[in-house]
Symmetry: C2
Subunit: 350 residues, 2 copies
C-alpha cells in the first residue's frame, strides 16, 4: 500500500442501516470536503449507478458489481466463504490488490473482521489485529480506545501490541507527540486485575523510547477525564466499556427529553437552552466520532457505525483518507521495532 | 441470624469520605424514617459519642470502641489481620456474634469483602460471594447488577450462583414476582463471548421453576432499557460496566454545566428548566441508589459508596434493614435448592 496524496477509498455500498443511499451521499459529502478523494463502490451496480447519478462530484467513481450482501445475521465463518461474491469482501480485496488505499464498511463487524484478517493477514510481528476508535473527553483531545471487540480473550503479548498500535494511531489521528497509554483495569494498584493485565503492565513499563509513555492502569469511571490518550483493553472489556458509555449517553438523553416535555415551563426552558443542548448533542452524537480502524493488518480497513448518517459516513471516509495518506501501517511497523529494541536493551541491563 | 422486626445495624462509623459525622447523621436520618431501627457504632468512642450527642434519637445506640481504622490504601491481606482491632472488622464481628442483624461500611471495598468472607464464610452451596447493587432503568423498576468487583475471574458455576442469588435479591428488593435474569455479554447470539459465559448460559437454560426466568444474553448498551431485572457478570466486567456508567453520567453532567454557563440566555434557560434538571439529578444521584449488598455469606453486609452523603447513608441503612427483616439469607438458600432440584430433574429427563 503506497502513500498517496489522492487516495482511493473502496466503499461497501450495501452495508449499514441506511444502505446505498446513505453510503453514497456520505461519499459525496466527503468529496465536497476533500476534492482529491476517489471512490470505488462495491455492490449492486444498478442501485449504485442510480444513487451516484444524484451527485456530479462522484462521476469519476469506479463501480465493482457484486450480487451478494453480508447481513447482520451472517456468522463470520459464513461471511468468509463469500469474500469474493460480496460487496464487503470486494472492498477488502480492492485494498489487497492495491487498487484502493483503504476499505470502508458499515456492515457486520464480526464478518468484516474475519474477511479482513483472512484476506489481508496480520502484519509481521503482530499476533492479532484490534479495533480502535476515537472517543470524546473533557480534556483537550479525544482519546483512542482499543480493542473494541475484535478479540474476546487476550494475553499479555496481545495487550502490549495493542498499546504500541494504539499509540501510533493516536499520534497520527490526534497529533499528540508522546501519547499517554493506560491499561483499563478495576483498580490502579499494581496488584489489581487479571494475570494478563499485570504481566502486560510489567512489559509496558520497559518502554523507554520517546514515542509514547505507559502511565499504568486506569479505571472505567476516569476514561473521559482527559487523563490518557490511549486506553488498552481486551476486546471483551473494551466492548463492555464502549457500550456502557453509549447506553448511558442514550439513557440520559432520553431522561432529558422526558423531563423537558413534562411541563410548559420546562418546554420554554428547553427552547431558551437550545444552544447549550446543541453543544451536548455535538459531543454525544456518534456520527462525530465515526470510523473505527482495524490496526495490525496488511491493509487499511475502517468500520462505520451501522446507524451512521451521511455526515457520519463522510467522517469515517475522512478517517480512512487520513490513515492512508499518513501511512499508518508504516508507522506501526516503526513503533513496534522501536519498542522491541528498547525492551530488549532494558532486559539486557536488568 | 434471626428475622427481626426491629433490626440492629452495626455501622462502621470510621469508613467513608465523610467520616463519623456523615455516618452518624445518616443513621439519625434513617432512624427518623424508621423508628424501630437500632444501631451499634464501631470506631473511636470519643468521636462517636460527640457526634451521636447531636441526635437525641440515637441515645439508645451501642458504641464499640476500636483504635484501628482500615484506610483506602490498606490491602485486603493487611485488613484481615486487623479484623478484631478495626472499626470495619468489629462491625462484621457483631453480625457474626448475632449481636447485629447486618453490618454497614463505607470503607475500602476489597478489605470489607476479605474480612466479611473470612469472618462470616460463604453459605453452604455457594462457592463465592458477590457484590450486588441496584441501578436505575427507563423501565418500571430498578435492576439488580452483580458481581460488581468481588471476583475478578469467575467460572460458569460462579455465574450460575450469582444468577440465583441476584434473582432472590431482586424479588426482595424490587418486589418482582418472576425476575428476568440475563448474562452480560458482547453479543446476544449463543456463540458470542467467553467459554464461561456460554457454559453458564447452557446451565441457566435448565431453569424451569417459577421463581425467576433466564432470558439469555444482554449487551452493555441495553442495561438501562428495562429489558432485564437482574444482570449477571464476572466482577471484572461488572465493575467496568458500572464505572463506565458512573463516569459517563458525570461526564454528561459536567458537559451540561459547561453548556449552561456559556451564555446568559443558557443561564436563563437553566433557571426555567430547574424542575426538569431536578428529575435528572434524582435519577443520576448515586446517593439514591446507595447500598450494595454482599450476597452468599452467612451474615448480611452492606457496602456504601465512599462518597455518600448522609442521605445516601440513610438509604444504605434502609437496604440493610430490609434484607435483615425479609431474611435474604433464607431466601437465597431456598432458591438455590429449588434451582438445583429442577436442574437435576431436567438432566434426568434429557
Amino acid at each position: 500500500m503506497s502513500v498517496d496524496e489522492a487516495p482511493r477509498i473502496a466503499i461497501d455500498a450495501m452495508g449499514g442501516d441506511g444502505g446505498p443511499a446513505t453510503m453514497i451521499a456520505g461519499a459525496a459529502q466527503a468529496r465536497d470536503r476533500d476534492s482529491s478523494l476517489r471512490f470505488t463502490f462495491t455492490g449492486d451496480e444498478a442501485v449504485i449507478r442510480a444513487e451516484t447519478a444524484r451527485f456530479p462530484q462522484l462521476v469519476d467513481s469506479i463501480i465493482v458489481h457484486c450480487d451478494d450482501v453480508i447481513t447482520g445475521d451472517d456468522k463470520p465463518s459464513q461471511a468468509i466463504r463469500r469474500t469474493k461474491s460480496s460487496s464487503m469482501g470486494a472492498a477488502i480485496l480492492a485494498v489487497k490488490a492495491g487498487e484502493a488505499a483503504a476499505a470502508l464498511s458499515a456492515g457486520n463487524t464480526g464478518a468484516l473482521m474475519a474477511i479482513a484478517k483472512l484476506s489481508l493477514r496480520t502484519m509481521h510481528g503482530i499476533d492479532r489485529p484490534a479495533l480502535a476508535a476515537l472517543m470524546p473527553t473533557l480534556g483537550d483531545n479525544d482519546l483512542v480506545m482499543l480493542d473494541l471487540g475484535a478479540n474476546t480473550d487476550c494475553d499479555a503479548r496481545n495487550l502490549v501490541e495493542f498499546a504500541v498500535m494504539g499509540a501510533a494511531y493516536s499520534r497520527l489521528a490526534l497529533g499528540i507527540e508522546s501519547p499517554r497509554v493506560r491499561l483499563l483495569n478495576i483498580g490502579t494498584e499494581e496488584l489489581k486485575g487479571t494475570g494478563e493485565l499485570k504481566e502486560a503492565a510489567a512489559m509496558l513499563r520497559q518502554q523507554t523510547g520517546g514515542a509514547w509513555r505507559f502511565d499504568g492502569f486506569i479505571e472505567a469511571d476516569r476514561l473521559g477525564r482527559g487523563e490518557a490518550d490511549v486506553i488498552v483493553s481486551d476486546g471483551f472489556s473494551g466492548n463492555i466499556a464502549l457500550k456502557s458509555i453509549e447506553g448511558t449517553a442514550r439513557f440520559i438523553t432520553d431522561l432529558l427529553r422526558r423531563a423537558f416535555s413534562s411541563s410548559l415551563r420546562s418546554k420554554a426552558g428547553f427552547i431558551l437552552s437550545r444552544p447549550a443542548f446543541a453543544l451536548l448533542r455535538h459531543h454525544l452524537n456518534p456520527n462525530n466520532h465515526n470510523g473505527a480502524v482495524f490496526l495490525g493488518l496488511n491493509g487499511l480497513v475502517v468500520k462505520s457505525h451501522g446507524g451512521a448518517d451521511e455526515n457520519g459516513i463522510a467522517n469515517a471516509i475522512a478517517v480512512a483518507a487520513k490513515i492512508a495518506r499518513e501511512d499508518l501501517t508504516r508507522r506501526i511497523t516503526d513503533d513496534l521495532e522501536d519498542f522491541r529494541s528498547h525492551a530488549v536493551q532494558t532486559e539486557g541491563v536488568a
